[in-house]
Amino acid sequence: MSAQAVAAPREKVAAPEHRETYLNHDYSWKSWLFTVDHKRIGILYLLTVAFFVAIGGLFAMMIRAELLTPKGDMLEAETYNKIFTMHGAVMIFFFLIPGVPGVLGNFVLPLMIGARDVAFPKINLLSWYIFVTGGLLTLFVAATGGVDTGWTFYAPYSSTYSNTRVAETAIMVFITGFSSILTGLNFLVTVHTMRAPGMTWFRLPLFVWSAYATSLINVLATPVLAITVLLLALERIFHIGIFDPRVGGDPILFEHMFWFYSHPAVYIMILPAMGVISELVAAFSRKRIFGYSFVAFSSLAIAVLGFLVWGHHMFVSGQSAYAGLVFSVLTVLIAVPTAVKIFNWTATLYQGSVEFATPFLYVLAFFGLFLIGGVTGLFLAAMGLDIHMHDNYFVVSHFHYVMVGGMVTAFFGGLHYWWPKMFGRMYNEAAGKLAALVIFVGFNLTFFPQFIVGYMGMPRRYHAYAPEFQTLNVLSSGGAVILGAGYLLAALNLIWSLKFGKVVTERNPWGATGLEWETQTPPIPHNFEVTPRVTQEAYAYHEMYSGKEAHGVH
């Protein structure tokens, strides 16, 4: 790298006048590790999350390599089980959940509402430290034996039968949970008390609404998981507890308590991503989001409904059929607020001024992948169909479409969008577009075959499988290589830009609305020279661009 830099020195650019930014006002290690600046904490999250996603991705690649052949010939069964467990746990707890809120939320949310920081900056830093502690413990567990229960930790396998490091993992989940509780709490209060003058609720960017809804789930659901894994750890360590059926314990209760958190948790993962998409759709079509208040309230509706449906993970568990009915009908109803979002985003494009920049390509990719992920959710919500689908590869594919196709795609879109604001550099546009395309193709190649192989009868978490499933599994593994290459290309492009990308000094390189674009690029330590005073609705693109000839009838 450095050799290349020596070989091809960049052309000398006239040194710009020194501007203080949150990045350059202090370079010391201490100033980063003890920072209470939400922007720097966002960057810290970016680094840690990137680290964990790399590890989780490595595990994914090992899974796909093993599944190339029907026989379990590459890894021992136990090793394979540990790897898919670590893949799930690392990706969920250290990437999908903290990803958008931790990185993008921390960086842009206070900017968007015109605040100097979040309400509790020190707690914000504490939250990152808790997160890192949980992460290090995970790595320690992985390096010293691992855990093989699956990320769902179902009792009594986890509490009694597994002889891997379940207790340590439970404690790791317990600790990490508090990181997301504290972040959620911080965002809730920030949105309530830190808004700039004139920034009323219905002038908030939709990303803030979705971050708010997410925080609600963080605060109200996470503690139940914490207590559940605490009970699991107690049962594990002291050999006494409440989930052991041999002494009258009910393993189904564990499932209830686990999914009370873990189902809403998927909305912790996807809601902020939906918020990012709202921002991107508006910015790249230069239009106010169609039906703003419907999109805003659909976030809250999803957050609330999300708490009432966890039993759909348990249709064949021995749960009462009548309870299943209630959970099933509430589950299908989530389709409504989700559809409202999709339709409104699509309608926003009408009469827009759409620019096919890299972030917008991610928006289109999100549309495709999230739609598939969403409608396949309906397959699983229909109880009769779920009898067959439950715990097979259809489920695996469904949640990867929603989580990876939805959340990760939106995350990359948002990262590209706010990148110049974060670092004052622009990535290479062509490479960015290519990466988005490769990711879209690679993703579908990886996961679409899994729908089919699932319906054909391949169970999830199988180390070896019946030979007739091989063709589709090879396709899937091949797609995974392409997908991995796409993510790598996108990441390298962003990293490359930090040193070689075009310098961005203008405040608003995209010509977008939102207070984050009214401050300096990159922002000063306290965000705004003058506390902004908001007088307009969110996404007032019409006002911004109506100087030119009006479009259509309006």
Binding site: P245, K287, V332, I342, T376, L385, D391, N392, M456, H551
Partner: protein, 313 residues
């Protein structure tokens, strides 16, 4: 090509076509929805791509549209729910005339007991065209019995019974898999289900002698000395068990309970939990003395005690 890459597993039970019908309906519906919306977004993006001198329009939204696109997905969603529930309840309610099989999951094998006493491990032989009910439990962790060709699956839960019923429609050989992750050799907890013509099934049965569970249960009933207390006459200290299966019995201290598999199991393991009215709480527990399979045999025996027979003395 399609032969090489089938899109569905074989359809071999009365339940399978119902699942497939809903599945294909949803495949078509979701293809239309997904492709439709994605193409609309793509079309609008291209049609309204950025052109110099053209400003974006200014549209607030439309209540009518919002209601419309809340209402339509809502109705569709409820429809899907209703259809799904209908299919589910078909699987939840077994018909009257069933053959009772007993299944027990154990790391990492399936133990099956036929109504006529033959036992199998992992594999399953059943006659075509007969309704079969599984009463299932687990000896250790959660497992899930799944036959993709029947589109059926149910978890087996330690400490309690779950039920599943089906009627095979096509002779053949189908996969049995454990679908609930259960430890190291989870992917090895598999077997084959052989659906046989009735006469073939008879032949198989005669080649695999075994005691009918109710016969084995009767022997157990005698060996464990259950018989001394549970018979009419002198020395009777427990309720008679003839003809009571499936009926409601009154309990000491009020309340009633249906005499079913679950209650029999509980009474063997925890005799004093629910004592029948008019009897003393004197029975000892048989926990540790009888395994899950043996309890199932006792259950089968008590089930077989129709009104006329009575407990043999």
């Amino acid at each position: 090509m399609l032969q090489e890459l089938p899109l569905t597993p074989p359809s071999a039970s009365t339940f399978a076509p119902q699942v497939d019908a809903l599945y294909w309906f949803l495949v078509i519906l979701s293809t239309v929805v997904t492709v439709g919306i994605f193409c609309a977004a793509l079309f609008l993006s291209i049609r309204y791509r950025r052109k110099p001198g053209v400003a974006p329009g200014n549209i607030e939204g439309s209540l009518k549209l919002e209601l419309l696109w809340s209402f339509i997905p809502g109705v569709l969603a409820i429809g899907i729910f209703a259809w799904g529930a209908k299919v589910y309840f078909y699987a939840a309610k077994p018909p009257k005339d069933v053959m009772d099989f007993y299944v027990s999951g154990k790391q990492w094998m399936w133990k099956v007991q036929h109504p006529t006493g033959q036992k199998e491990i992992n594999d399953l032989h059943i006659p075509v065209g007969r309704a079969i009910r599984f009463t299932m439990t687990s000896e250790d962790v959660l497992h899930s019995y799944w036959v993709p060709a029947f589109r059926l699956k149910k978890d087996t839960v330690p400490g309690r019974y779950t039920e599943m019923w089906f009627q095979a429609t096509k002779p053949g050989k189908y996969h049995i898999q454990c679908a609930e992750y259960c430890g190291t050799k989870h992917s090895g907890m598999i077997g084959e289900c052989y659906v046989l013509e009735p006469e073939e099934y008879q032949r198989w049965l005669s080649g695999n002698t075994g005691e009918a569970p109710e016969v084995a249960g009767q022997k157990l009933f005698e060996n464990l000395r259950c018989v001394t207390c549970h018979m009419a006459g002198q020395g009777q200290r427990g309720p008679e068990l003839t003809g009571v299966y499936g009926t409601k019995v009154q309990l000491e201290g009020g309340g009633e309970v249906v005499m079913n598999d679950e209650y029999i199991r509980e009474s063997v393991l925890k005799p004093l939990a629910k004592v029948v009215k008019g009897f003393q709480p004197v029975m000892n527990t048989y926990e540790g003395q009888v395994g899950e399979e043996e309890i199932m045999q006792l259950v089968a025996y008590i089930k077989s005690l129709k009104a006329q027979g009575g407990v043999k003395q």
